[in-house]
């Protein structure tokens, strides 16, 4: 019972947090009509909302929610890598047009997701919301992933030139780390993942929308 209240609170807070990010991003776009300051305007709310998602890994690990902690970890870390290790450290890349595209895709996806979770807890999910959750991904995934990949790609020149996050020999631990190469491998890692995730969601869509429609009929009868 207590856990339900906590989860309800968590999901509502995050839904509101992402709402704020979306509002700020869209407002800036409407006012200035260019992407240059979008990140600047919404970055505080964005950082808070996205970083709080770490809690979801804990929720899965302690069994508070039924997801796999490993899957949750993969999803959360991929956002955090792009946000904290790519976008935030490289100010030169923050004004590009792929940034608002990525942020808005994240916002819409997260707002739908958190409201869906919140209302699921009290068993009051309107069919519309279920439909959104299991339909929006069809274009949000490609848009979001494109945004992420373009963002990572856009920081490569700066990262290479400044040697940021990189480690050179010689050192006590005999280890070297080339951040640009790591980022390129990271980008390659998206390739096997997106089709698998996408097809999984398509399957889920068939299951959940069918079920939701049947539930809706039952309730009205």
């Amino acid at each position: 019972m207590l856990s339900k209240i906590y989860l309800l609170l968590y999901n509502c807070c995050l839904a509101c947090g992402w709402n704020i990010v979306l509002y700020q991003a869209v407002e800036e776009l409407c006012n200035s009509r260019n992407p240059t300051y979008v990140y600047e305007k919404c970055k505080v709310a964005l950082k808070i909302s996205q970083t709080l998602a770490l809690l979801e890994i804990v929720h899965a690990a302690v069994g508070l929610v039924r997801s796999s902690p490993v899957t949750t970890f993969i999803q959360v870390q991929s956002r955090l890598v792009v946000l904290w290790l790519v976008l935030d450290p490289v100010s030169e890349a923050q004004g590009n047009s792929n940034v608002p595209m990525m942020i808005i895709a994240w916002c819409v996806a997260e707002i739908v997701r958190y409201w869906y979770y919140a209302l699921s807890l009290v068993d009051k999910v309107p069919y519309v919301l279920t439909w959104c959750r299991y339909t929006f991904f069809t274009f949000l995934y490609p848009i979001g992933v494109s945004g992420e990949l373009l963002t990572i790609y856009s920081v490569l020149p700066v990262v290479t030139a400044t040697g940021m996050f990189s480690l050179e020999l010689p050192n006590k631990w005999n280890v070297s780390f080339h951040y640009p190469i790591f980022l390129m491998l990271y980008m390659a890692g998206y390739v096997p993942y997106l089709p698998k995730l996408y097809m999984h969601m398509i399957k889920q869509r068939g299951k959940m929308l069918g079920k939701a429609a049947a539930d809706g009929e039952k309730k009205s009868n």
């Binding site: 020999l169 010689p170 050192n171 006590k172 631990w173 005999n174 280890v175 070297s176």
Partner: protein
Amino acid sequence: EEVSTQSTGTKETSIMDIKQLHIKQKSYLYPTRMMYKLSLKDKALSEDAKIGDFETFCDGSVLYFKDLGPQIGWSTVFFAEYIGPIFTYLIFYLARGPIYGAKGATTDVQNVACAMYVGHYVKRVLETMFIHRFSKATMPIGNLFKNCTYYWGFSAFISYFVNHPLYTPPACNLCLYIGLGTYLFGELGNFSCHLAFMKMRPPGTRTRVIPMPNSNPFTLLFHLVSCPNYTYEAISWLGFSIFTSVFYAALFTVVGGGQMLQWALGKHKNYKKEFEKYPKGRKAMIPFIL
């Protein structure tokens, strides 16, 4: 899991006979990739088992079948897994000119490290040839690619940094001796345990006994853990990491140790399930702890 009904067969029909019949229908199958069970919760049936052995079995009873996928022999796998790293390590040790543009010869530390690393895998190959007795004949072929990537990959990473012209040995000479000593201790201990396991299982049998120490003092660790071979192996790699002071060697120790701990926990659980009198104080791999 596919379900196949057996409506023919006498009490003398064995699982192997059933497998051969099945192969006649699907020629891509072969016995080691075929598994039959009486129910989803049971263990796999052995090929020698006969229909008459199972009281509940009769005409029309259901047997569960699973295709385990393409299989490969254990010894093949072990050789690939263990010989690969030797070559991968030696490439960086021997071809330093072409790879790094290095001019000078390797240092003493780099030479000894090479002997330690290659020696470890030579020992493994010899053990596979002469000592290990496997309880299963094959494993799924996917494991081969996964395992080889792991072994060969880490080997390349470690070797690249140990043999690099800018390699920095540990600051204190004492570390070198401690590292080497720990490594030798681990290797001897690990070998002693493998020998002990071999003696516990007579050739050609599938005997399972509670592991106990023998006259070799290294085997005393059996009193404290179910899988002292894994303990010693981890110690050995710890020694190598201390000796070389290479991050990827330490990482390999942690990752390998973690995997072995997982295996040890599984084997420990099996031992406890199988033997009622299994010694209570024993842990899986880390004495007194886990």
